[in-house]
Amino acid sequence: MTAPRGGAPRRTGGPRDRAGTATAGRGVPAARVLWGLALALVLAWSVGPAAWQALTALKPDAQITHVPTVYLPHPVTWKHVETLWSRKPFGTYLANSAWVATWATLLCVSFAALAAAGLARMPGRGREPLLLGLLFLSLFPPILLLFPLYEGVRWLGWINHPLALILPYAALNLPLAVWVLESAFRQLPLELDEAARLDGLSALARIRRIHLPLAMPAVATAAILVFIFCWNEFMLALTFMTTDARKTVTAGIASVSGASLYEIPWGQLSAAIVLATLPLVLLVLVFERRIVSGLTRGAIKG
């Protein structure tokens, strides 16, 4: 990749090349200004709504709906957060979400690893159709599964049992995780597999000790995506978890209420959304470190 001759044809994108020469040449400030501007726009676009939620969570009620718009809360109030914690077992919601999402992610990535390892080393022409089939499966809107799942969950007596969420979450995310892991596994040199077979590692041991560690960036990516899905999933959580002790954070937020049937408690909702998102942000930051370190020590070819 570093060889200029070898690298050139692979880089098909024109803009990347231009950016490369611009920084190398140091002489084109216009490109840099544009670059910075674009970055600022993207940042505003993606961070803006989140920041707005955070600000709303800290505003007194009167300022939330005030016209003209009040941007910065003055004074900052923790009232919404306090109300939220005192009215709702918000900590329990968070813990439930963490518990469900963690197990669902573990389960999903483990099974996806088995399937992906099989697919990645599958001889013959069966692999592509299978992968396409998986993709097709993942296109089904999960809402279609709500009623059958409800019947099943009720039949098993799993209403208000974490498994009622863990298993569907894991299953719903399998196609995605298999896709991510399969393409990563397929890029591992076949000889590593063979060396491990000769060293006496079983199929499962190879996945655990060779595939997964070497595909760590992909594993982390898959895990984060699955975890985020589980954390954010709403319909199943709402339907299967009816008691406060079992509700996940999304279902919990749905039951945040205002003083009247018609009032929407914006402040509390914003506080709840910010509180529900923070753990996710922290998690991604931590995992991102892992992805980066995984990348730097990957170095498969000697």
Partner: protein, 359 residues
């Protein structure tokens, strides 16, 4: 340790490629059997079949008397060295070496001792804590060897282990390998397409072509009495000069010269005759019983100079003294240094057909 034998191994890939076409061999303890052949002739496939990474379409493998075709690779006790080493990038060198022992539940203490011993033997002990990416090519090569050695396998399989090294390192490693092989008690099967490597390392060389073993013999025997025209030209550098001719009585008429056929030589009307460049005598002055040639190319190699000569309508190559040669030198060769082959490429020996090599 017992003999490792393969009998009539055939490997046909699902796409129809017939990579092994009835291969039989015997690899003996403490001896190096080299598989030599051009790229694509099935060397790696044979190695992989032995290791269990591929399953033979038919044929049997035995260690001593016991067939092991049904054993999974991990239970065949092979030390395999991959062409590209295939070290585990995420494990330290110590773990790379120790993984097989760990899987076999060798106690920790003994495991560490064996890893260290092996590393010391290969001169990589200081590197045990590093990861493969932090090693040079030569060091990685040693680790790959170490991974095979540390297991004390029943046989070693090495697939072109030196081909990824630069020329200088390769020669040094070749010598080290030779001394290493001298100390092991298991059979070694060594794959290469480099005949110099094959000659220098092996007790026996099996020359392969198109999924078959053409000849299996000790290196010098192979050189002296190639059983086959292909072997004759493949073994020896620079290549043997081969002329085709028509037999007329006791003479063979080639484009270059008419040569007397030895008495009792079999074969039909058409024969090939070969002479190795190092067997050609070159002189400024006329040589009795020789021919005057035209010098076309002169390549000084240092110790010798390689000449490309035209004799009549054909070319021949000769290893001559390292000096300037005139435009029309004289050449000659002893009749007993000629190699005769019939129309199908089989070696002809005065006094009877065949008679050398295993096949």
């Amino acid at each position: 340790m017992a003999d490792l034998t393969g009998h009539d191994l055939v490997k046909v890939f699902p796409d129809g490629t017939r990579a092994l076409d009835g291969v039989s061999f015997t690899a003996r303890p403490s001896r190096v059997l080299t598989l030599l052949g051009p790229s694509g002739c099935g060397k790696s496939t044979l190695l992989r079949v032995i290791a269990g990474l591929e399953r033979a379409t038919s044929g049997t493998l035995r260690f001593g008397e016991a067939p092991f075709d049904e054993l999974p690779p991990g239970r065949r006790e092979v030390g395999f060295v991959f062409q590209n080493y295939a070290l585990y990038p995420h494990l330290t060198i110590a773990d790379n070496l120790g993984l097989a022992l760990e899987v076999r539940r060798v106690p920790r203490g003994e495991r560490e001792r064996r890893v260290r011993e092996t590393a010391e033997m290969l001169g990589i002990a200081p590197l045990l804590g590093r990861r493969p990416a932090q090693l040079s090519g030569g060091q990685q090569q040693r680790v790959a060897l170490g991974r095979a050695l540390v297991r004390r396998p029943r046989f070693y399989l090495l697939d072109e282990p030196l081909s990824n090294l630069d020329a200088l390192l390769r020669e040094g490693m070749r010598a080290e390998l030779k001394s290493l092989f001298g100390r092991v008690e298991s059979a070694v099967i060594y794959v290469t397409h480099d005949q110099a490597e094959a000659m220098s390392l092996s007790h026996e060389v099996a020359v392969m072509r198109a999924g078959r073993i053409l000849q299996c013999a000790p290196p010098l025997a192979l050189y002296a009495r190639p059983a086959d025209l292909f072997v004759a030209t493949f073994v020896g550098s620079p290549r043997m000069t081969v002329w085709r001719g028509r037999r007329d009585g006791s003479m063979l008429h080639t484009e270059g010269a008419a040569l007397a056929t030895p008495a009792g030589l079999g074969g039909g009307d058409q024969l090939d005759v070969g002479i190795r460049p190092e067997d050609v005598e070159v002189s400024d002055r006329p040589l009795p019983g020789g021919w005057q040639a035209t010098l076309e190319v002169s390549e000084p190699l240092g110790a010798r100079t390689l000449l490309t000569l035209r004799i009549g309508g054909a070319t021949a190559r000769a290893m001559a003294e390292p000096r300037e040669w005139p435009a029309r030198p004289w050449v000659r060769w002893p009749a007993d240094r000629l190699h005769w082959f019939d129309a199908s490429g089989r070696r002809l020996d005065p006094g009877g057909p065949g008679g050398s090599g295993n096949r």
